[in-house]
Structures are given as C-alpha cells and as structure tokens.
C-alpha cells in the first residue's frame, strides 16, 4: 500500500520513467481511437488537427524522453536500466515480469525509432490530409509505435513477442488501410499469412527456450546459457530465424513486403523500411549469445542474407513502380543486415539498420511526395524531368540516393555497408573455409547492382523529359512544407548518420561500434589472415564499384537510351524472368498454396464433411438428443422426484463411503 512517506523520500531516477517512452504513443493511440470512435458515432466532430496534434505530440514527446534518457544513460553505459512494471504471469512453474530494459542496443534503437517515427508522423499530416480515415490512421500509427517500442524495450522474450505480434497486427491494419480496394485488403492478408508462418517458427523457438531454460528473461537466459548445447542452440536459432525471416522479408518469406506497398507511403517508410522489418535483425542481435553457440545457424543466416540481397537487387533492376523498386531495395538491404549478423558482427548489422532506416525512410517519403505531386502516379515510365518542378522533393530523393548507393564516402550507408562487407570477408567461417570470400564477392556485386538500379530510378524520375499525362503535368506542384521538410531532414540526417561509426581503420572513432561492443558476445574476431590494412583498400574498391554502377546506369538510361534498349533486347529472356520476379509468387501458388489447398479440400470434403459431419456430428447430435431425452426423464419438473433424488443421492454416497 502506498503511504505518504513513500513519496517524500524517493528521488526518482531516470529508469523509473522508462515506461513513459512506450506509454506516450499508447496514450496517443487511446485518445485518438476514442475521439475517432466518438466522431464516427457523430457524438462530436473532431477536427483533423486535433488528431494530428495528439499523434505527433505523443511521438515527439516520446522521442524527447528517449533522447534525454539516452544521453544520461550514455554517461554510464555499462549498467543497463531495468524497470519492472508489473508481474505479468504468475503461476507455479511460470513467471514473467513485464519489464523494460534500456541498454546500449535498445537505447540506440529507441532513439532511432522515435526520431524517424516523429518525422514520419509529421509528414503524414500532409500526406493523409483530406483522407476520410485521418483519425483512424493516426490511431494505428501511434499503436504501431507503441508496439515497436515494447518490442525493443522488452526485457523478456515474451514481452518482445507481444510487441512483435503488435507490430505485425498494426502493419496488417495499415497495409489494408484502404480496405475498400480488394487488392489492398488482399495485400494485408498476404502479409499476415506469410508472417504467421514466421511466427510459428518464433513460437517453436519460444517453447524450446522455455523447455530448456525455464525462463524468457534475457538476462536469466544469458546467465544460464550453458543449458544450450550446440544442437539445441542451432535448432532454437533456426526457429527464431524463421520468425525473423518472416518479419524481415528474407528468402523464402520475403514475398509479402513488395505487396505491402499497397499501404499509404508514410507507412511504407516507417513500418516497411525503417522499423518493423528490421525487427528480425534486432531479434538476432538480441539473442546473440545463443547465435554464437550455433555456427551452422549463423552461417545459414549469412548465406540467406547475401542471397536475398542479390536476388532482390536483381528484381529491383527492372521494376517500373517507384515504390516497388524501393521495396525490393529494402529487401536487399535487409539481406545485408542479415549478412552482418550472420557473420556474428552484430554491431555492423545494427549500424546498417540505423543508416538504412534514415536513407530508406527519406527515399520512401520523397517517393510519396512524388506520387502526391503526380496525383497518385507510381509508374516511373510516366515520370521524368521532375527535378525542376519539385526541387525540394528531388533534393531529398537525391540525398537518399547518394546515401544508399554509397558513392560519397562518409555519407549515409557507405561506412555501414562497407563494415558489413569487411566483416564478411574478415570473419573466418568454421564450416566452409572459403565462404567469406564468396560472401564478399556476392555482396560487392550487389552493391554494384544497388548503385545501378537506384541511379536508373533517379534518372527516370528526375532527369530527362516528362513522359506522363499532360493533364497531370499541368497540375504538377511541389508538396506542402509539412511533407518536404521531414524529407529534407531525413536526407540531411542520412548524410551525417554514417559519422557515428567511422571505421578505425581509416582513423575514425567508430563510436557506435565501441558503444555496442561490450553488449555483444564474440563480435571481434581474428581477421581471417586478412590484414587490417586491407580494409581501406577494400573500401576504395567498393567505392569504385558503386561509381561504376552509377556511371553505367546513367549512361544507359540518361544519355544513350539505345543502350538500355539494346540491353533489354539482348537479355530479353533474363528481363522477362526478372520482371516476373523469378516467378516466385507463381511457384508458391503452384506448389505450397496448391498443396495447402489440396489438403484443405481433402480436410473439408473427406474429413469434415464425410467423417466429421457424417459420423461424428451425427454421433454428437445423437448424444444431444439422447441426453435431452434422459434429462426429460430426470428433470421431470416434479418436486417430489427431486426430493427423492436428493435422498437417493445421499443414500448412495452413504453406501459408497460407509461400505468401503
């Protein structure tokens, strides 16, 4: 019970307010949801600015709190802040505290998430203006932010899972936000079904962790990590990776992410580029102490990561929808991150997660602004020469392009991508000795492709001549400042975000790496016989490769259109395959889906209709009618019969218990 002196003698430390970070967006979601419900019921009319103020206020306040906390946490980063909020589950065998933890990793993530989310909230005001579902949109967006923060802050796998499901659910709601459009609602369904497959893996991992360790708490797991043998650790890691692959769109579960572009563009920026899809990377990094026990699983992650990176980048080469290019690019970049955490270089994965979050959010928001200016046009073949018409947006997009293509050292993703490449090469693989070299070559080639398709995109959108409808052209206008300024903020941010991790090899401070390093187990490895002096040289190499991609693409799409046409003709077969996205969707349709459908038909027709309805339900119906008849006999309504039953019951009990 609370007493007055409790309040007098306690000086609150920062960690007592950790809950505030997540609670603020939740409060925002509640308020907005409540107001939206009321206005839907015509109890009162809510002006859109009220919704916007609540949602953006909640997000920005959350950012300020996290920033403040992060700064004071940074003074003593060795002791994580833990706040036990309440006893969530309490039973004999099973005990879960709902608690938050701020450590180096979650601190960085929280600041990053709330910062990007705040900018995207602001941008959404402009983008969603005049939409009927304005209040609903901001409710979902705040709810998403809350879930994401719970995911990151949770000190317990089960709390993390709560956030994990929460973000998935909000993602579903927001992909299908315009649910009147069947295709968009279908995209939402696809996302949730594919994610269910991943979640099945996650749950299997959870069960296995609990069976072995008897707890879900990260710190307790870490303390008891000797209970995991290599085999069990490998299994657990694979299960969790299935979950991560679902959420973070890796082979073979990436298919939902491109379709998820059906949602409003700010949603694509926040959820499907910057934050939610990176949850899988975060999960692997958070469970690093199990993953280092399982070299097979880590190797698999690295291989799948690099293959996804390559695979998605090739598809992005031929996409014609501006958002689809960015979507495949996201899948590809996520592949890089998994390559990073797969070679047990967790800092580099997280580093790239953050830089990518900045520049990809910037690109998506800028793309949204382009689409907004062109009244919903998304086909890049009908764009061109937009630079002079929408300069602010174009500037933002170009900054994002510089960052993602890695063509300016120190800017954006240059260092983070390079760190991953370097680690991939320098980390020896205990299973396949030659694997590091292979990984490096594929990743390097992918960075060439990245530069190529991104350059193709900007050339087709911002340079050359306009190729779309005249009518749209006449109404071409720059987006309002509430949209362009967040784009520019993110663009400029992504120019400088790389500075947090300048590699020591070229004389940088690598602040992020040093900050995160104590948290991760086994992240510094012997350099695989590769001299550290090689790192600057390799950096130069990838710099040149990126420029080669840019130059080639600019040449093909900017100057000599014949080149691109010739290319397309020469490789028409390849192009067709790429345009068909390797026919993976069709492949799934004809194998997995067809198989499941066949089983479903068998179950519904033979098992349910035939056996269940035919026999079991028949039996059930008979049982019901029989009991009804019996009950009619017993429950006759005659009070004297009831009296007799009581007497008989007592007599029977007396007989039973006295006789024995």
């Amino acid at each position: 019970m609370l007493k007055l002196e409790h309040f007098q003698n306690i000086t609150y430390t920062h960690s007592d307010w950790l809950w505030l970070i997540a609670a603020l967006p939740l409060l925002g979601a509640f308020l907005n949801g409540f107001l939206t419900l009321l206005s839907a019921r015509k109890v009162l009319t809510v002006k859109p600015w009220v919704n916007a103020l609540i949602a953006c206020g909640a997000s920005i306040a959350s950012f300020i709190v996290s920033w403040e906390m992060f700064l004071s946490f940074k003074k003593a980063p060795d002791s994580p802040w833990v706040q036990d909020l309440f006893n969530w589950v309490e039973s004999a065998a099973f005990h879960v505290n709902f608690s938050f933890e701020l450590n180096a990793l979650s601190g960085v993530m929280v600041v990053f998430i709330t910062f990007v989310a705040s900018l995207i909230h602001l941008y959404s005001i402009g983008y969603m203006k005049n939409d009927e579902g304005f209040g609903r949109y901001f409710t979902y967006l705040n709810l998403f932010l809350f879930s994401m923060l719970v995911l990151v802050l949770g000190q317990d796998l089960l709390v993390l899972f709560l956030g994990w499901e929460g973000v998935g659910f909000c993602s579903y709601l927001l992909i299908g936000f315009w649910f009147d459009d069947v295709a968009k609602a279908e995209a939402g369904k696809k996302a949730i079904i594919v994610n269910r497959i991943g979640d099945a893996g996650f749950v299997a991992g959870l069960l296995m962790v609990f069976a072995l360790a008897g707890t879900f708490n990260f710190n307790e797991l870490l303390a008891h990590k000797q209970v995991f043998t290599e085999t069990t650790a490998t299994l657990i890691c694979l299960f969790f990776f299935i979950g991560a692959a679902g959420k973070s769109a890796q082979i073979p579960l990436y298919i939902w992410l491109p379709d998820a572009m059906a949602g409003p563009t700010p949603v694509s920026a926040l959820i499907h580029a910057a934050t939610m899809v990176t949850a899988g990377v975060y999960l692997v990094a958070r469970l690093d102490f199990i993953y280092v026990l399982a070299p097979w699983a880590s190797t698999l992650i690295a291989v799948i990561g690099v293959l996804t990176a390559l695979f998605a980048a090739t598809i992005a080469l031929v996409q014609t929808d501006i958002k689809k290019v960015l979507a495949y690019s996201t899948v590809s970049q996520l592949g890089y991150m998994f390559l990073g955490v797969g070679v047990t270089s967790y800092e580099s994965g997280i580093f790239h997660l953050i830089t990518h979050g900045f520049f990809k959010a910037c690109l998506f928001l800028a793309a949204g602004s382009v689409i907004h200016s062109l009244r919903g046009e998304q086909d890049i073949r009908k764009m061109g020469g937009l630079l002079k018409h929408i300069p602010m947006t174009s500037l933002g997009f170009l900054l994002g392009w510089i960052a993602i293509a890695g063509i300016l050292p120190t800017c954006g993703g240059f260092f983070s991508k390079d760190e991953i490449l370097w680690r991939a090469l320098a980390t020896p693989n205990p299973i396949f000795p030659l694997l590091p070299e292979v990984l490096y070559v594929i990743a390097l080639f992918t960075s060439f492709l990245t530069a190529f398709y991104m350059t193709r995109l900007i050339v087709m959108v911002f340079f050359g001549d306009y190729r779309g409808d005249r009518e749209v052209y006449e109404h071409l206008h720059e987006s309002p400042r509430i949209m362009t300024w967040p784009v520019l903020a993110l663009g400029i941010g992504s120019m400088f975000i790389g500075w947090i991790g300048v590699p020591t090899a070229i004389g940088g401070a690598d602040e992020l790496g040093k900050f995160l390093d104590p948290l991760f187990h086994l992240s510094t490895l012997d350099a695989n016989g590769v001299s550290p002096k090689l790192e600057p040289i390799l950096m130069l190499l990838s710099f040149l490769v990126a420029w080669a991609g840019v130059a080639l693409a600019w040449y093909a799409y900017g100057f000599k259109h014949s080149v691109s046409k010739n290319l397309a003709q020469t490789f028409s077969g390849v192009k067709k395959v790429l345009e068909g996205k390797y026919y993976v969707d069709e492949f799934y349709q004809h194998t997995v889906v067809a198989f499941v459908k066949a089983i479903a038909r068998w179950v519904s027709q033979w098992l349910i209709e035939g056996l269940f309805v035919g026999r079991l339900v028949e039996l059930g119906v008979q049982a019901v009618t029989r009991t009804a008849q019996a009950a009619k006999q017993v429950q006759s309504g005659l009070v004297r019969a009831y009296l007799a039953y009581i007497a008989a019951g007592a007599a029977l009990l007396i007989y039973l218990f006295l006789h024995s």
């Binding site: 019970m1 609370l2 969530w88 589950v89 309490e90 039973s91 429950q635 309504g637 009070v639 008989a648």
Partner: protein, 495 residues
C-alpha cells in the same frame, strides 16, 4: 469485547434495507421509487467501502489512520463467533459486488415487469446479502447455520417474488421444499458433529476430531453435511432444483443465486472442511466425496446444458458445471487450491453477472429468454454481442479470457495434488461446453435479427458491461493483482 468492524458491511446492508422499507411508506403507490434505489446502492457501496477500509487496516496500508482504531488486528466479535479475516473479506467482496450488480439488474427487470413491491424486493435482496456476508465470517456452526438460513429463506421469497407469475411461484415452491429438506440434512449432520466433539466452534471441532478414529456415524454426519451444503452450490446429484429455479425466478434473483449464493456456499465449505474437518480420520472420505460430486457435476452439468433452448436454463446447467470445476480446486485444497478457488470465483462473478445483465436487458426489450430470440443481437446492440461472446467464452475457459487462467489454476492445483483424472474430465468437458456456449454466441453474432430495432440501455448498464468485459480480458492477460489478493486471503485460513 465486540469489535463492530467485524460486521460493519452487514450493518450497512441491514441498515439500508430498513431505510428502504421505511422510506417506502412515504411513497404514493405508483410513483417511481428512485430514492429507494439510491439508498440501496449507497448501502452496498458503503458496505464495500467499509470492507475496503477494514482490509486496508488489517494489511496496514490504510491511508486514513483515523479509521483504523484497532490497528492491524483482525476484527472479531461475539466471543470469536465472527471473525473477518482476509479470506472472509475476499468472499464478502465477491458477494457485495454481486449484490450491487443484482440491484442493477433488478432495476432493469422491474422496468419491464412492473410491481408494487420494489421496496420489499430490494430489502430482501439486502437481507439476503447480509446473511451471505455474515456466513463468510462465521467461525462457529450455529452462526453459520443461521446466516445460511437468512440467505436461503430470503432467496425462497425472492424466487417466488412475482406472485402473479406461475413459474416464479413454482420456482419458489420447489426451492423452498428442496432447500428446507437439504437444510434439515445439514442440520442433522451438524448435530452429530456437535455430539462427537461437544463444541460448535469450527476450530475446536478440528482440535477435538484430530485424535479421533473414523467411525461410521461420523462419516454419516460428514456425508449429510456435504449433501446439505452441496445443494446450495448445486453440485450433482443435489442439483435438480437449479434449472427449474433459475428458469422460473426473476432474472436478478437468478443472477444473485448463481453468484452470491454459490460463493457463500463455497465460503461455508472452505471454513468447515479445511478448518474443522481437515483431520486424518475424515479428510480422505470427504475429499473422495467431493471428487465424486465434482466429476458428476462437470459431466451432468455440461451434458444437460447441450439441448437447452432457454438461456436461463442453460446458465443453470452451466453453473452446475462451474461448481464442479471449482470443487476440483477446492478438494485439492492447500494454499494453491484455495487461491485457485478464490480467483475463479472472482472471475466467475464478472463473467456470469455480465451475461445475466445482458439477459435482463434483452428480456426487457424482447420479453423472452429463448436462445433463438437472440438471433442477431449483435446488430441490435454491439455491446451485448461482445458481452455474450466474451462472458460465455470466459466461462468456457477459452484463452485469452480470464476463465482460462482461472481454470488453469484450478486444474493445476488438482493435478499438483494427484487428481489428474478430475482435471482431465474437466478439460474434456470444457471442450464440450464450448458447443453450447458458442451456440448462443453464434446465434447472437451470426444470425440475422428478426426484429432489427436497436436495444437501448442506460449509461450505468453500459459502463458496467464495458467494465466487466475489460476485467475479463485484463484478468486473462494479467491475473497477478487478483491472484495476490487471493493468495493473501487463502493464506489467512492457515494462520
């Protein structure tokens, strides 16, 4: 010395009842009796507040020190015959909340079924609640018996309250005859218990019996007591009255019987058996008895519920099955089992009461209790649809609702004491129960309404329904606070 804190809630209840009867004198015959309702609600809320204050004082956390004149001692009165420990307080909490909700349901009920005797109804409800409330503190079998009869005799009247209504009368008559009969059995058992021990104080009975060897007459007495009390909580095979009385009684009375009366019955069981009869000579016998009764109730209650067409009758059979589940935790006993019983009763209070409130609201509009008339209720009032779904699924024990965690604890306790087979029967028949619970929910949520006119309710009812749903869902996710209260309550029995 009499410490009036031991029966302060009852003073509130009885005082309010008398005030209601007195104020009624000043009313013209057919004016609406708003003040009486207010007095009744104030009485119950006052009782709840005094209970909360007492609990706060005993646990040492009362913010207003002035009201804790006796520090942290557990209040006792009448030579120790009444003692309001944490266990009694927990039971009282459930009973008082059930009374409050019953009053709310009755206001709705009397709007649809006008009667001149609202004051009398309210007063008898309050008297009845006072009886149930005293019962939970009783440390002695005469007190226990008198309190129990205060509860049941009032209930006979309540069941027969609609005196122009055939089924209400029939329900009252059946309840009276069967109830009096079972009371006689109970009393017979008590008399032999007294004969064997020479005392009526439950704790002393336990001491006196501790050294005795089992004898047939003693076993007989125990069986008679079990039979008499099992009637009150409608355990099979002493459950025959339940469906008829539940169907025939006015809906608020049904709700009251299904929660408050049952809780009081369990309170009597817990004290009498886990304090007085928890002796080596008898314990195996009555635990075996309860095992038989629990399994029978679970099976019969669930099976007989299947073909029901009347929702009140369905709820009657459901409550028989629920009594069976709770008995599984009760017979496991100990800290674990009793905590589970208390927690489940708390959950059951919200699930059952919200469903009965929904039934009363629907009945007020449509005038029937047939399940087929619940078709498309969801379209006529979304809230009622949600309440039926959540409340019934919680009763069925479907996650994530509170009924699931409740059953988890009950069956967990049973399994920990080696009664795996009872838990197994409980789980299997929980699945069976889904069939009839879902049938109501399906009717309410899927079918098309015959009459699409919306069902109105006032803000108090709306608020109560919403709060109940929130409670059921929250307790499913986060049972800990109530579990901790229940743990404290259960442990007070063993100190």
């Amino acid at each position: 010395m009499i410490q009036y804190q031991a029966f302060l809630p009852e003073i509130w209840l009885v005082g309010a009842a008398f005030l209601v009867l007195i104020f009624e004198l000043f009313y013209k015959s057919n004016s609406d009796r708003g003040l009486l309702k207010a007095v009744a609600v104030v009485g119950v809320v006052g009782a709840l507040l005094s209970l909360g204050c007492e609990l706060g004082c005993v646990s040492g956390g009362c913010p207003v020190q002035a009201c804790c004149s006796m520090g942290t001692t557990v209040p006792t009165a009448f030579g120790g015959f009444l003692k309001t420990d944490a266990l009694a307080a927990f039971f009282k909490l459930i009973i008082l909340l059930a009374t409050l909700l019953t009053l709310l349901i009755s206001f709705r009920y009397f709007k649809a079924n006008p009667t001149f005797y609202v004051a009398e109804f309210i007063a008898i409800i309050l008297f009845s609640a006072a009886g149930a409330s005293v019962l939970t503190s009783a440390q002695e079998i005469i007190t226990l018996y008198v309190a129990l009869e205060t509860l049941t005799i009032s209930s006979y009247l309540l069941a027969a309250f609609m005196k122009k209504d055939k089924s209400s009368n029939e329900a009252g008559m059946k309840y009276l005859l069967l109830g009096a009969f079972s009371s006689a059995l109970l009393l017979f058992g008590f008399s032999y218990l007294y004969g064997f021990t020479g005392t009526t104080v439950i704790a002393d009975i336990g001491k006196a019996l501790a050294t005795q060897v089992s004898s047939p007459l003693l076993t007989l007495a125990v069986i008679m007591i079990v039979a008499g009390l099992a009637f009150k909580i409608s355990l099979a095979p002493f459950h025959m009255w339940t469906p008829d009385v539940y169907e025939g009684s006015p809906t608020p009375v049904t709700a009251f019987l299904s929660v408050a009366s049952k809780t009081a019955g369990f309170a009597a069981f817990v004290r009498l058996f886990w304090v007085g009869l928890s002796v080596p000579a008898l314990q195996p016998t009555w635990i075996g008895l309860f095992a038989v009764l629990a399994v029978l109730s679970i099976i019969l209650g669930n099976l007989e519920a299947l073909p029901q067409r009347n929702i009140k009758r369905l709820m009657a059979y459901s409550s028989i099955a629920q009594a069976g589940y709770i008995s599984a935790g009760f017979l496991a006993g100990g800290q674990l089992g009793l905590t589970a019983v208390l927690f489940y009763l708390f959950v059951y209070l919200f699930a059952n009461m919200s469903v009965f409130l929904a039934i009363a609201i629907v009945n007020g509009k449509t005038g029937t209790d047939q399940i087929e008339d619940y078709a498309g209720i969801w379209k006529r009032s979304p809230l009622i649809g949600v309440v039926l779904l959540v409340g019934l699924l919680s009763l069925a024990g479907v996650p994530p609702f509170a009924g699931f965690s409740g059953k988890w604890y009950l069956f967990g306790a049973a399994i920990s004491k080696g009664y795996t087979w009872i838990a197994l029967v409980g789980m299997i028949f929980s699945v069976v129960s889904l069939y009839y619970y879902l049938q109501v929910a399906r009717q309410a949520l899927v079918s098309e309404p015959k009459d699409p006119s919306p069902i109105e309710m006032n803000w108090v009812e709306r608020a109560v329904l919403v709060i109940s749903v929130v409670f059921i869902v929250t307790l499913g996710f986060w049972p800990t606070p109530v579990m901790q209260m229940a743990q404290t309550a259960a442990s007070s029995l063993f100190n």
